[in-house]
Symmetry: C2
Subunit: 223 residues, 2 copies
DNA sequence: GGAGTTAAATGACCCCTGGTCACCGGTCAA
DNA sequence: TTGACCGGTGACCAGGGGTCATTTAACTCC
């Protein structure tokens, strides 16, 4: 008679068709995103994600095998969307200055904190508890988008070679990850950084990213 | 009679003098470090740290209030040591080229993976569950070392201003954090990156860091 | 529209790990 | 000798990720 006194409630209609399942998957991703935006990866509980969509905790695990898989899927979506946005902007116009490109990249990341925060968690946290398949699918997508971006970069900035364009992307990725972490700090640290003499440790994500990319490009052009 | 059947064992002599406590603190840090080097932050268990030093789990919490505090203390040590090493090297010689500096910085980080891995965890993980006091003490130390480094940078590279030297440190910090994460990946991801066409996603920490810093400095000089 | 079948959803349960605390006992000053 | 102090202990607790036997909605076929 184990578990015989199960409560009687089925809140939501069952997702039987593939499109319904996909919709439910989306709901879960949206819930995870909203909770993550308000707190942090560690603070988001799978039970909360479930509650927010009106489902039971166990149901979440029907759609995502682990918490990390859920958030990696979220990152996957956000990354695809961001690359599409960036590549769209890179497609316009003829030849650009390095500073123009830096501004374009930095601007494309405005309001994309969720994306960059997750990006910073990718290797450290998200890929720790995930299947090979999901990791590969994710990286395959990154690779594709990166290829397009590299090609567009060479169009806009003729002084870039295939090699330097690829390197640039790597370095910008590193900068985005690193600067996001420095700018997006824990409440305790934020309190400490309020002190006047701590000013040198305060980081403005957009400003620093723009500056760094501009400098990198000037360096590449001066070669 | 709660907990009345406590086992009878006192493995290690008690640390009564301050220096003994300090030594025990060091042992705990060393144990944490060894375990972290073999695995990851999430995989290191406080019980393991205790076992490795021959202490009971509860004892660890007499020395460090939380797991994060333990690792932040470890980072504090490693960071101080690394800055000392770097500043020592920066003190030699007259005027350098940007490439020389880049090589010096990158070389000073060779074999310091533990340091850079922890650095990458700092804002995301370590400062999440730590007292204001510890955070402030840590940042105070960073600030001091950074000041010295900025001054030395301006000596070696005369084209740097106080402002650009500070910015350079920020950008290098971001690059170190970001590149370490990209280079030091989870086993699952490593497996995926073995595939030939994944080559563009493989990152050589030292090589990329050297390249990025060199480019940054060329950009600053070309201003 | 009733019987049978499939599989989505449930939630009690398991387990692991960070963190607590009442108790133990070695040491040393009085 | 003794009693207070305090470092150390480990059983215990809390809470969150993940499992699975069971329930039952929804669809199929007659």
């Amino acid at each position: 008679m184990a578990g015989a006194l199960a409560a009687k409630r089925v809140a939501l209609p069952r997702a039987r068709r593939d499109e319904d399942k996909e919709a439910r998957r989306r709901e879960l991703l949206d819930a995870a995103r909203a909770l993550f935006e308000a707190t942090s990866f560690a603070q988001v509980k799978m039970a909360d994600v479930a509650a927010r969509t009106g489902l039971a905790k166990g149901t979440v695990f029907l759609y995502f095998p682990t918490k990390e898989a859920l958030f990696l899927a979220l990152l996957d979506d956000l990354l695809t969307a961001w690359f599409a946005k960036l590549n769209g902007r890179l497609a316009e116009g003829g030849t650009w200055t390095g500073h123009q490109l830096a501004c374009t990249v930095a601007q494309s990341l405005e309001g994309e904190e969720t994306f960059t925060r997750l990006l910073a968690l990718m290797q450290t946290v998200l890929e720790q508890n995930v299947t090979v398949e999901q990791t590969q699918a994710f990286k395959e997508r990154v690779l594709g988008a990166m290829g397009t971006t590299a090609a567009l970069l060479q169009e806009r900035l003729p002084f870039l070679t295939a090699r330097t364009a690829g390197q640039l992307i790597t370095h910008v990725h590193a900068l985005v990850t690193g600067l996001r972490q420095m700018a997006d700090i824990a409440p305790v640290a934020r309190e400490v950084l309020t002190l006047p003499h701590m000013a040198p440790l305060r980081v403005d994500f957009t400003a620093e990213l723009t500056a760094a990319i501009t400098t990198l490009l000037r360096g590449l052009q001066a070669r």
